[in-house]
């Protein structure tokens, strides 16, 4: 997604130059999205009552 947006913004040539950065940051963005935030230890999640949706 990052790469596609970058191409739209700055063009293919520019994206080739910065591709390593895009890949590293995209990897970290993906890894962050995979972390389950646990109400036991994450302050914002703690505010939500548990229950069945």
């Amino acid at each position: 997604m990052l790469k596609k947006t970058a191409e739209e913004l700055w063009g293919e040539e520019e994206v080739i130059k910065i591709s390593k950065h895009l890949e590293t940051t995209a990897g970290s963005v993906w890894n962050m999205s995979q972390i389950v935030l646990d109400p036991k230890n994450e302050p914002a999640t703690k505010l939500i009552h548990e229950g069945k949706i």
Binding site: T25, S28, V29, L37, N41
Partner: protein, 436 residues
Amino acid sequence: MKPYQLSLKEAIEAIKKGELTPLTLTESLLERIDKIEPKIHAWVTINRDQLLKEVNHESKTGSTELLNGIPVGVKDIYSTKNLRTTMGSPIYRDFIPNDDAEIVSILKKKGAIILGKTETTEFALHDPAPTTNPWNITHTPGGSSSGSAAAVSTGMCPLAFGSQTGGSIIRPASYCGIVGLKPTYDLLSRKGVYPLSWSLDHVGFMTRNVEDANFMVGILLGEVKSWKVWNKLPRIGVLRGYFKEKATPLIWEGYEKAITKLWGEGADMIDVELPESFKHVQDAHRVIMSVETASVHEDLFKEKRPEYGEYIQGYISSGLLVPATTYLRAQRVREIIINDIINLIGDYDCLICPSTTDTAPKGLSWTGSPAFNIPWSLTGLPSITVPTGLARDKLPIGLQIIVGPFKEWDLLRIAGWCEEKFEFQHRPIDPVEPVK
């Protein structure tokens, strides 16, 4: 001994006793700079004319301020009134600030004299400075506080200031065989220090021994304490795991040797298991730093993109594309990591790990990995590097010591205890050229 070889405290004592004048000290440092700077390239600007005027003034007033007449090096991202401050960037090549950074103001109030501005990587990120490593001038001194580390190591000044967002104080200090202190986040003012990533940026400094670092913390916090090392056998949490995976064999060998030495001296050395959340350190740091760097530079970058170096261009571009929710998620994950580490550290007097993943890499095209410093920049915990000896490649190795937030006095006293045991030499070195 020549004046440039004196430690900070020794120079202050000698001036107090009348054995040395600020002018003699400054002349000795300038002579040292003239001799070795062509090989080391630690300085962007030397404040030569103004410096001698100020030193003469300090000498005549006979000021009793604690740093009376002591010349200090300052990284070139600290604003210095009427003294060029380039941020290591061509965009700021002629920038003359109207004011001093708050730390610079404090230094001046305490009688210090700004000797000059030390080399930094571009905007304190990655694109390297021309500085070389005094222990082997074909190797990097580390970054981003490259000039500060090399200048202190070679005796061009007894004290120099730097900043750390990833590993920019501890890593260069370790590569150059000196002491580097990164205090607790926000303990020292960042006002007037060009931001890279505001929630990760730390202000700190480098000296050639721990006693000098202790003295400087006292001056900056306004509570100078008499120096004594840790007076009991420390209970030390030994970090391996993540660090062993990333360290080179040379570094790991040096680390194990340091552990054995401290254990032999009676320290209680306990293997510590890192919390589960620790595995997210690098990703959380990358997301937060890339977004904040992009945010700091967003407007200037639009206008002057071609004048930015290759690495920082890519870094800012990638940060501009990170979703806001991911940045906030990274900050939430960071809070979990901080809580877990603070809970862990409470069982020990300190934690230890190697200061760097490797000894100073060959070449000047990159400044080495900050992987062993990032955890302590992300958590904001105070850390210090103390040289333990030389590796088989004749380059310095450092031990990184970490304590809980705002426990700088404990950190310094434990570091002093360790320093005594390692018996590393703390006098300035001459630049080493490789044998052809």
